[in-house]
Structures are given as structure tokens and as C-alpha cells.
Symmetry: C2
Subunit: 139 residues, 2 copies
DNA sequence: CATAGTACATTGCTATACGAGGTATGTGGC
DNA sequence: GCCACATACCTCGTATAGCAATGTACTATG
């Protein structure tokens, strides 16, 4: 049962920061994955990976789901599967929906602040131009 | 010298997640604050607070700056101040500039993924597709 | 010299992500 | 029936990070 995932988790990896970046966004992402309807654990992982490049391990998602359930933001129910093995489906509660909307708003604010900060970095032709004209910078 | 900041760190605080959200983005923000020129420690804190609502404590910024310097992403120099007390100014190195640009790109990708995930949450009027496509069902 | 202000630095606590490993259930080959 | 395998859920241990609190150093002012 190989579980490699090529974490390369030693200290010399220059992309460690990227892993840290995801911290804290995970609870929000987990809630968001349930917006359209119930999913079970591994399904959430696959959904997030496909939808938003957010890769997280099983050891990550289950503690998060338990935290969220303990807070009353989602509920879980065992569902028999005709093939395979029973699955625990998670659904948003009303409280979870409201919380997610608040989180999403705060995220938008946070992202806007960082975007403003990073504008000169991502778009080197800034400072001399007020509006347009010279907007043909590489994209 | 009040340093309250309303910790209230017990488990019933609904805004703990927001603090976590900032994790990992701080190194990038610290680098970004130096994009226009050198700043000293406390100045970085004030800059980030004013520019992007990113509030961080001294106990946070100094370890970050030391980490970044140890990685060669920035340099520091003591500068005598005619009034007050010498300040340690930090500047981006060429390596730091490059790294920051890479970080900014990764941030943009990450933010785009989360945005896509949160679109139905932030914009309840889904179904009235304005920019069409992207309404693909997940997997 | 005492107080206050500014700036840098360190320590200790707590929370978190996540790799690794474990359990339970069903399926197919022999 | 048995064994290998796949799927799914769960848990423990560890490394790391943010940050409140606290300490040190220097200067200015009265």
C-alpha cells in the first residue's frame, strides 16, 4: 500500500511555502465542496483535486471533517453501497452554509488585499501608467 | 504598550480559521513589502497592515525575516538613525526577487482555484451563466 | 537618573497539516 | 474457502508555524 505522494518533505525543498499557503483554506474548501450536495470523504479529496488543484491527504481531510461536524457545520450519515463498502456522506447544515458564505466573503477580502500587494510583482509595468496605454504586458 | 489582539483562542471562536488562512502567505507578503525598496522591521508590519489588512505581530515578522535571510532571499544592514535608535533595513536580493515572482504566480493559480470553488457560494445566482462554460459538472 | 518611546529579538504555547500505518468490508482468481 | 487487492474510514506522531508575552538596547526629555 504505497502512499508516496512525493512529499519530499525534507527541509531543503523550496516549495514548502506553498504547502503552508494552503493552511487554513482547507476548512473552507471542504465546506465549499459540499455546496452542491453530499459527498463522502475520499470523494471530497478527489473533487478538490480536480476542481481547484488542492491536494490533501486522508490524514488531513478526516480531522477537518470531524472538526467541522463538531462545530455543527455539517452532518454525516452512513450509506450502504451495493458495491464495496459503506460510505459516510457529509452534508452542509444550514449553519454550515451561512458560515461558508461568511468565509467566502472574508476570503475575497483577503485575496483582494494580497492581490493589491502583488500587483507590481506580477505586472512589472506599473508605476508610470495610471490607467491603460501600455497594457500589452505579457500575460 | 497594549498587545491584546483578542486571542480568545479557545475552540468556540468562529474566527480562528481566518488566522489560519494567513499562514504561509506571510513570507510572500514580507517579500512583497520590499518590492519598492528597503524597509525595517516595524515598518514592514505597518506597511502590510495599511496596504493589505495583514496584521502580524513582531514575534511573527522577525522569525520570518530571519528565515528569508537565511535562504538568501534578502539582506539586512544596520542603519544609524539621527533620531532614536539604529534600524535594521531589509532589502530583496536578486534571488529574492525571482522567488517572489514565482510565489506570486503560484499564489495567482491558487487563488484562481479557490475562486472557482467559491463562485457558487459568493454568487448565488448561478444558472444564469454570464461567462458560460466553467459550469462543468465536477468530474 | 527616571520615564517614555522606538526597535529588534527570543521564548513558550498551541494548533495544524500530513505521512505512515491500521481496521473493516467487499470482489475476483484459483 | 482462501488470498490478494481495492476501497473507505480512522488515528498517532512529528515537524512547523504563528504569535502573545517578555526581554534587551538605545535615545531623548525633563
Amino acid at each position: 500500500m504505497v502512499r508516496l505522494r512525493t512529499r519530499s518533505s525534507n527541509s531543503d525543498t523550496p516549495d514548502r511555502w506553498e504547502a503552508q499557503l494552503r493552511k487554513g483554506a482547507l476548512e473552507m474548501a471542504a465546506l465549499a465542496s459540499l455546496w452542491h450536495g453530499r459527498l463522502y470523504g475520499l470523494e471530497i479529496i478527489r473533487f478538490l483535486e480536480g476542481e481547484s488543484q488542492l491536494i490533501l491527504a486522508e490524514g488531513t481531510i478526516y480531522p477537518i471533517l470531524n472538526r467541522l461536524r463538531a462545530e455543527g457545520l455539517l452532518t454525516s450519515e452512513w450509506v450502504e453501497a451495493e458495491a464495496g463498502h459503506p460510505r459516510k456522506y457529509y452534508s452542509l447544515t444550514e449553519s454550515g452554509r451561512l458560515r461558508l458564505m461568511k468565509m467566502a466573503e472574508a476570503w475575497a477580502t483577503f485575496a483582494a488585499g494580497l492581490s493589491r500587494l502583488l500587483t507590481p510583482v506580477l505586472n512589472p509595468a506599473v508605476g508610470t501608467v495610471t490607467t491603460q496605454e501600455k497594457q500589452e504586458v505579457f500575460l
